[in-house]
């Protein structure tokens, strides 16, 4: 029970949480070194060393990680109360940006997702992910269930619309994966607070009843696309091919894996997108079941510490923010791993902290920083 140190700014700083948040991307770097191994496209280590670095993806990801740590520190410094005050503003800004994308966004691969401001590209959907977490946290914390424990159906109307609006805009881009994960996070925040069983039942029933006519209204080709999404193996030349190759990669890893940089699926490039969406398959092929369980364990540790922070937060808003961010990272992890092992549809969501990519890394590190901020501020006035 130290008195002086305990009252400093770092009182409440969760070191275990930070450790998990750094260990996982470090594991990612190790996997990426192998996945992105390509001596023909070697890069100089910023000209510092005469040795060329043979895995450009790994090297760049390392710089993203360093940048991510800085972003994390910045996020930590933002007072949680300020987030509470400006939640609606951020939400509104996000909606405006999404509408702008629909109007004059840049089309890449058939989807209109990007806004371009003189060379700087912005994906408003990424921004909205945070916007929805903060908004739901504010709405739900200011309007707790009237009976004190769980929401009635009528109380769900406003939160429901707040989720549906950005979801619809993003689904229209089309970016179904992001729209769904946005919905999952918002809904999970509502469920976290609690919903009366009867209300829950009627929502589920309504969705099921509406699903059938909606399905009938779709065009043939749209139906087929959704069926392929649900059952990729029905399209053995398209995404089914990717899933088949990914499953072969994962399965052939067996208990201990084929050995580092020995994964034939990866190194012979049967595996698609092996530095981004399918990076988990590389881990599974080269490190086997043991490697997979280790990484999943690390993620479980991360979620556990995040939830502990949520539990100890100083107010409802902070709890819901920490929980929402946890739910978001969790949803991505489960959807991504589920996808590469053939349990869930192929929706193109990267594995948080592991998949190669700067914007994913930075936005997740920012989220983790906010959670750390919640942790720091838990005791201030108590």
């Amino acid at each position: 029970m130290s008195v002086r140190v305990g009252r400093g700014i770092l009182n409440g700083f969760d070191w275990v949480f930070l450790t998990f948040g750094v260990l996982i991307p470090l594991c990612g770097l190790v996997v990426l070194f192998s996945a992105g191994y390509d001596p023909e496209r070697a890069v100089d280590l910023f000209g510092l060393f005469s040795v060329e670095f043979p895995s450009a993806a790994c090297l760049k990801q390392a710089t993203y990680l360093l940048a991510g740590l800085v972003v994390m520190g910045v996020a930590m410094a933002i007072p949680t109360q300020a987030l509470n005050r400006h939640a609606f503003f951020l939400y509104g800004l996000g909606i405006i940006l999404l509408v702008a994308v629909a109007g004059f966004g840049v089309v890449v691969n058939g989807s209109r997702r990007w806004l371009s401001f003189g060379g700087i590209n912005l994906q408003p959907a990424e921004f909205m992910k945070l916007g929805i977490i903060l908004t739901m946290a504010r709405v739900l914390s200011r309007r707790p269930p009237k009976n004190g424990s769980s929401y009635a159906l009528s109380e769900l109307l406003i939160p429901g619309l707040l989720i549906a609006l950005p979801m619809g805009l993003i689904a229209k881009q089309p970016d179904l994966g992001t729209a769904l994960s946005l919905g999952i996070v918002g809904v999970s925040q509502i469920l976290f607070v609690g919903v009366r069983p009867r209300a829950l039942l009627s929502v589920v029933a309504t969705v099921l009843i509406l699903a059938y006519p909606a399905w009938e209204m779709l065009h043939d080709y749209q139906q087929r696309r959704i069926l392929v999404l649900l059952d990729p193996e029905s399209d053995p030349r398209g995404s089914g091919y990717h899933i088949t190759q990914s499953k072969i990669a994962v399965g052939s890893g067996e208990l201990f894996g084929k050995g580092y940089r020995q994964g034939t699926q990866t190194q012979l490039e049967f595996l698609p997108e092996h530095t981004t969406d399918f990076v988990f398959s590389v881990l599974a092929e080269e490190w086997g079941f043991v490697g997979c369980v280790t990484l999943i364990g690390l993620f479980f540790g991360l979620f556990a510490t995040m939830l502990r922070i949520a539990a100890r937060a100083r107010d409802g808003f902070s709890t819901l923010v920490a929980f929402g961010i946890t739910a978001q990272v969790f949803a991505h992890v489960v959807i991504n791993i589920g996808m590469v092992i053939g349990l869930l549809p192929v929706v193109g969501i990267p594995l948080p902290l592991v998949s190669y990519g700067g914007s994913s890394m930075l936005s997740i590190m920012f989220g983790l920083g906010l959670v750390q901020g919640v942790s720091i501020r838990r005791m201030r006035y108590s």
């Binding site: 072969i248 994962v250 012979l268 939830l307 929980f323």
Partner: protein
């Protein structure tokens, strides 16, 4: 809100989800692990590219000019070769080649994608294929593939117009124009092959073949069918082209034949030529150096890229300008004593004894220089420029669809003021107008511009865009591009029609008048096809030495004079007199065009009727 129980429930759900993933992993990796391990070991996907045959190139009557033939390429699959360097050294030894360039070729293609065949030798002979097949056991990883290759049916015929294909260069690969192309692809690099690359190329097909560990095909993952390139039908007539090419053999020069009504190019020949087939197989360094740096400039298409002073051919344009501007009349006589005194200098006529008094008709027929010095002086250089450049488009690229073209130059006071730095050089001196009036000095044009200019003179003033493509037909028969029925008129020279009539009459005189300089272009009288034209003999000073070389011989003619169907411009470098050297070549083409046999015509008068006038 009691947070703790909610967090515990969340943690529980989280654990359940992650446990479910773990179970699935257990299923895949432990229970079915051996099965997937085996599948991964047998999983070898090889992308086999299927090269489509390039489109054919045909003449205006559907005669084949370029087609495809099967050829053999030797590829290496690195994955199947324990020691690629050794394999290639052995291969080089078998076919009797130096291994170094082959190894370099392999390394250029990169070591990645080990299962993808890398091109080592292109278009090997049947003998070599037999040798390689016999030694297969010593060449692990070597495969022989059959791919279509260009077959130049007529050898070097119309080489400059057709152009050549060659492996895409590293620079071209970086060009977004060639996105989708891969190292080793053959693409059109000049002429029609280059300009119509996107039609001729077709679409590469690919086949992803699954093979087992020993390289045998066990299945197909997917296939994209190759699509043959589209055929290009040119405007040229193979018969005329053959004659044009033949008459330039062993010489330096250019011949271009054009339909003055449509702008269709009927023949386009430049010499020296190159053989397009040398580009597709392995080329020796000497051949390459000779093509690129040799002083023959074999790759230069002299019809569109060669710039020459037009010499006396230019006089008809100066004459037209003089009439249009009213600085002279057709009947005004100028006395030619054999020279014109200008200041202290004497400008000589090519006939040093002089032509005596000549009017415009006589001056053109006899190509009197003094007459043109005189009216050129009256016009001044800027009015000459106005007619030659602004009206007849000399000194401007014609826009013909076969790639890089030279512009040439028609001087003017404005040009001189702009082009030179030194203030003393910026001024146009009246003495400089004299040589320009007879197509000499700082004036250059391409043979195609001359053909186009003469066409405009005989078709009533329509300056046409020369066309080389009639249509492009896709492999399924769809017509992708078709030359419009109406000619593309770039501009109409708006001068009094009587001037065109006068020029026509004078040019017929050049060929048919007893004093005419171009009588060698005349067709036998019996066929009653009158020919018009203008000779030119352009003086040249070699750039390197400044020593006077032999003159360039020009002739530009058309027939039949009363309703011109064909215009031919010919130039022979350093060959001497245009009337003596170039006119006969043009006559040959006319003869072929009108179906007139080589031998002297039979003396029977009735035969005359049988000759189909204007058969194509």
């Amino acid at each position: 809100m009691h947070v703790a129980p909610r967090v515990w429930i969340s943690l529980g759900l989280c654990a359940v989800a992650l446990f479910a993933l773990t179970l699935r992993l257990w299923h895949l990796q432990i229970i079915k692990g051996a099965f997937f391990r085996e599948r991964s070991e047998n999983n070898r996907l090889r992308t086999v590219y299927v090269h489509p045959p390039r489109g054919l190139i045909l003449d205006r009557n559907g005669q084949l000019l370029v087609r495809n033939r099967p050829s053999f390429n030797v590829d290496l699959v690195i994955e199947d070769s324990p020691n690629p360097t050794e394999t290639i050294t052995t291969l080089a030894e078998i076919v009797g080649q130096d291994p170094a360039p082959l190894l370099e070729k392999l390394s250029r293609q990169g070591k990645r994608l080990k299962y993808e065949p890398k091109l080592i030798l292109r278009d090997v002979s049947r003998d070599d294929v037999a040798k390689i097949s016999a030694q297969r056991h010593r060449l692990p990883g070597i495969i022989i593939s059959v791919v279509p290759a260009r077959d130049y049916v007529n050898g070097e015929l119309a080489a400059h117009l057709i152009g050549y294909i060659r492996e895409i260069t590293g620079e071209q690969l970086k060009n977004p124009l060639y996105s989708g192309y891969r190292m080793g692809d053959l693409i059109g690099q000049s002429g029609v092959e280059a300009r119509y690359e996107r039609y001729l190329q077709g679409e590469r097909g690919s086949q992803a073949v699954i093979v087992n560990a020993s390289g045998n095909k066990i299945g197909e993952a997917y296939e994209h069918l190759a699509l043959s390139g589209s055929d290009v039908v040119l405007t040229i007539d193979r018969r005329l082209q053959e004659i044009a090419d033949k008459s330039l053999e062993g010489k330096k020069g250019a011949i271009v034949a054009m339909n003055p009504k449509t702008g269709d190019i009927l023949a386009l020949a430049a010499a020296p030529r190159f053989s397009p087939s040398v580009f597709t197989s392995e080329m020796s360094r000497d051949t390459w150096v000779d093509l690129i740096e040799g002083k023959d400039h074999k790759l230069t298409n002299r019809v569109t890229q060669g710039v020459y002073p037009p010499g006396s051919v230019f006089k008809i344009f100066v004459a037209a300008a003089a009439l249009a501007e009213g600085v002279t009349t057709p009947n005004e006589k100028v006395r030619c004593p054999g020279y014109l005194k200008f200041g202290s200098r004497r400008f000589h006529c090519h006939k040093h004894s002089g032509h005596g008094p000549v009017n415009m008709f006589e001056a053109i027929v006899q190509s009197c220089d003094v007459y043109f010095y005189t009216i050129g002086q009256r016009l001044g250089v800027d009015r000459i420029h106005k007619y030659a450049h602004d009206f007849f488009e000399f000194g401007e690229p014609t826009g013909v669809d076969i790639g890089d073209e030279s512009a040439g130059l028609i001087p003017s006071t404005a040009w001189k003021a702009k082009y030179f730095r030194n203030p003393a050089d910026k001024k146009w001196y009246p003495g400089e107008t004299l040589p320009v009036s007879i197509g000499q000095g700082a004036i250059t044009t391409t043979p195609l511009q001359v053909a186009r200019g003469v066409s405009a003179m005989v078709n009533g003033g329509k300056v046409l865009k020369p066309r080389v493509i009639r249509r492009v037909v896709a492999s399924d028969g769809r017509v992708l591009e078709e030359e419009p029925k109406d000619p593309e008129v770039i501009r109409t020279v708006d001068i009094d029609p009587s001037i065109f009539v006068a020029m026509n009459k004078a040019m017929v005189g050049v060929v048919e008048d007893p004093r005419g300089t171009g009588h060698k272009a005349a067709l036998p009288k019996i066929y009653a096809i009158s020919v018009g034209g203008k000779t030119g003999t352009a003086q040249v000073a070699s750039k390197e030495s400044g020593v006077k070389d032999d003159d360039h011989a020009w002739f530009a003619g058309y027939a039949p004079a009363d309703d011109p169907q064909i215009v031919v411009a010919a130039i022979l470098e350093n060959a001497g007199h245009g009337g003596a050297m170039a006119a006969p070549l043009v006559q040959d083409i006319f003869a072929a065009y009108f179906g007139i046999p080589d031998e002297p015509p039979p003396p029977v008068v009735e035969e005359k009727k049988k000759i189909k006038r204007g058969a194509r």
